[in-house]
């Protein structure tokens, strides 16, 4: 319908223009044609040009407004600042660091003024993006429009012919490099209509694909990997012509499923905010299809330590060593082997672990913090915090729920929801590895029993009495997740006495050379109910001579239970 598509570089797009009735985007209610889009950019650009401030924060979430503002700023000779998200804490931090002088949301559009927009110098038009660096501070990544233009031309030469005149439908936000490129810059430059609506659920995606008929899909592993479970993929008609995915690796099985149902494997893009796109792959299930192929003009080498060394036109052709570990193949393709630094990716969101640890340490009563990525049902973060005396007192009096809730709310000021740790531990000290260093392996031990249905408490501290070999005090967290509480409601959730005896015997066998067969239980007293989310001291004393184990559960305020387990003659081996 769009006639002959013409690719126009972004720096002269508004000077050259497109036909008045060219459909730029659909805002959910109607199609916005070139004439209207151009007028909006012209008016906004004129307003920005009249203002003295030179750098502007794109602080709104509305994509059509964002699209207008980013070009209005650049064509007015202003620097456009794209925040990593629009959370209040993030915007405050950017403001305090002097990242921008004014906010687009506070600009007032001019009613009259310039008649036309002139081409600009793409080397002197700046867009600042932000990402999580490994050092802790959010890192500013200044980009020129020229860099984006080079990347757009690489994408167009790689996939433009196949995409043809298709519109661009998406499930991804526009405020990061991938969204910015694939949802806005590439379609606009190449003359494709884009959907300004982000499809937030499968039904909506189906509807938008139907409405546009001929469309490519810009998505991400988080969305794609769940789509087949939410809807019947074969019920989509039409299916997208091409599927793009970026932000993290897509599991091979998921890619293969799309290949089977939609006849095409998602085209995955490997890259980063700093580097732009580096390589791509389409996992069809064939062997070798999991390897990444560098884009045209991009050179990938492997350093001695296994790091990816990139030479890219987007980076002025200077070799750039990355924090990604790869295995380079003789044919120039490579396998990705994960990160070398302490930056984790949770559902495509990059997070600096040191940054989160620093932030947690700034919270009242937190002495030390360690954050570790956890795999399992879904990727998530676990946080281990060492509290001061007052913090421990509050944990005991207010309970885990309340303390964790306030920590979550505190982090939510600066972090998107999926990055907020789902698992929390409050050990007496951060566990170290055998070389005395904090390591993921040592930390993971704290989170071993995290899944619902766990049968043991978390041991937060063990104190052996120096004088006697056969006595130990364990501090344990009786967490709500334990299988014994499952299905119960708070008023009924209590830890059965038999479980308390079982734990005592289990730990005794771990710490002492307990032998023999269970013979009898003596002097058992259950004095108080053990409810979820309390911390107890379990004192164990083993008397080898009488083969008797004394146990007692208590906290600072009261005793919960105590008793003696007597073992008989050794069972046959």
């Amino acid at each position: 319908m769009s006639g002959v598509r013409k690719t126009i570089p972004l720096h002269s797009l508004f000077a050259q223009g497109r036909p008045d009735d060219f459909a730029v985007f659909h805002d959910g209610a109607r199609l916005i044609k070139w004439r209207e889009f151009y007028q909006r950019v012209l008016r906004a650009s004129d307003a920005y040009a009249r203002r003295a401030e030179s750098s502007w924060l794109l602080d709104g979430d509305d994509f059509p407004q964002f699209a207008v503002d980013v070009f209005a700023l650049l064509y007015a000779g202003k620097r456009a600042i794209v925040p990593p998200n629009t959370l209040p804490g993030t915007l405050r931090a950017l403001s305090e660091s002097g990242a921008f002088e004014a906010r687009c949301s506070e600009a007032t559009p001019a009613a009259h003024g310039a008649q036309r927009l002139e081409a600009i110098d793409p080397e002197a038009a700046f867009i600042d993006l932000y990402t999580s660096g490994s050092t802790g501070e959010p890192k500013r990544i200044p980009k020129t429009l020229a860099q984006f233009e080079t990347e757009v031309s690489v994408l167009e030469s790689q996939w433009g012919a196949e995409a043809g005149a298709a519109s661009v439908v998406s499930t991804s936000p526009h405020q990061h490099i991938y969204g910015l490129l694939f949802r806005l810059f590439w379609p606009l430059s190449a003359g494709r209509t884009f959907d300004a609506v982000m499809c937030s659920h499968p039904g909506m995606l189906k509807e938008r694909l139907f409405a546009f008929q001929d469309a490519v899909l810009v998505s991400s592993p988080a969305q794609l990997s769940r789509l087949p479970e939410l809807v019947d993929l074969s019920a989509f008609a039409p299916t997208p012509k091409m599927i793009f995915s970026s932000g993290g690796p897509l599991p091979g099985a998921v890619a293969a499923l799309f290949y089977a149902r939609w006849g095409r494997a998602p085209l995955e893009v490997f890259g980063s905010t700093e580097t732009g796109g580096i390589a791509w792959r389409a996992q069809t299930g064939e062997s070798g299809s999991e390897c990444w192929t560098p884009f045209g003009g991009i050179d990938v080498e492997q350093s001695e330590s296994g790091a990816l060394v990139l030479t890219s036109p987007y980076l002025g052709m200077r070799p750039h060593e990355m924090e990604d570990r790869i295995a380079l193949l003789p044919d120039g393709r490579f396998r990705s082997l994960g990160r070398l630094d302490r930056v984790a990716k949770i559902e495509e969101k990059r997070v600096s672990l040191p940054e989160m640890e620093n932030r947690l340490c700034e919270y009242p009563h937190v002495v030390e913090a360690a954050v570790v990525p956890l795999s399992g049902r879904r990727k998530s973060l676990g946080a281990a915090l060492v509290l001061d005396a007052e913090g421990r007192r509050r944990l005991a009096s207010e309970g885990r729920r309340a303390v964790i809730d306030s920590l979550r709310r505190y982090l939510a000021e600066n972090y998107e929801d999926v990055l907020i740790p789902r698992y929390w531990r409050f050990p007496e000290s951060i566990p170290l590895n055998e070389r005395g260093k904090i390591s993921d392996e040592a930390l993971l031990g704290l989170f071993e029993n995290r899944d619902a249905g766990a049968f043991l408490p978390v041991v937060v501290k063990e104190v052996r009495d120096e004088g006697t070999r056969d006595a130990i005090v364990l501090e344990i967290d009786v967490r709500r997740v334990l299988a014994y509480f499952a299905g119960h409601f708070p008023e009924m959730a209590i830890l059965p006495g038999v479980v308390q005896v079982d734990w005592a015997v289990r730990y005794a066998k771990k710490y002492f050379s307990v032998s023999g067969k269970f013979a009898s239980l003596e002097n058992v007293k259950f004095l108080a109910l053990v409810v979820p989310d309390i911390r107890l001291r379990l004192t164990l004393t083993w008397d080898e001579a009488s083969k008797a184990l004394d146990f007692a559960y208590a906290d600072a305020r009261k005793r919960y239970s105590s008793g003696r387990v007597v073992f008989g003659e050794s069972a046959p081996a």
Partner: protein, 90 residues
């Protein structure tokens, strides 16, 4: 009605692997997402959709923008399941 409510609360806790939350902690009208509520995130929303679909054969693919509202609280989910779901064996 009451049992469906409890069933859904248990489904939320079990399917999302929420460690410090028991079904009884989830108030009927407490917001499941966002501030001041249970604090589920956008991925939880997807996972919960999968779990509901499996258990009640719910179709949430009808394209209605009401999805956000259906998932707002346990009470809303109960209504949603009653209208649209077909209970199947566990």
């Amino acid at each position: 009605m009451e049992s469906l409510k409890n069933e859904i609360k248990k489904l939320i806790v079990d399917s999302l692997g929420l460690e410090d939350l028991s079904p009884g902690d989830i108030g009927d009208d407490v917001p499941l997402f966002g501030d001041g509520g249970i604090g589920l995130d956008s991925i939880d929303a997807l996972e919960l959709g999968v779990a509901l679909r499996k258990k009640y054969h719910l179709s949430i693919d009808s394209g209605d923008s009401g999805a956000r509202e259906h998932f707002a609280s346990v009470n809303n989910l109960v209504k949603f399941v009653q209208i649209r779901g077909q209970k199947t064996e566990d």
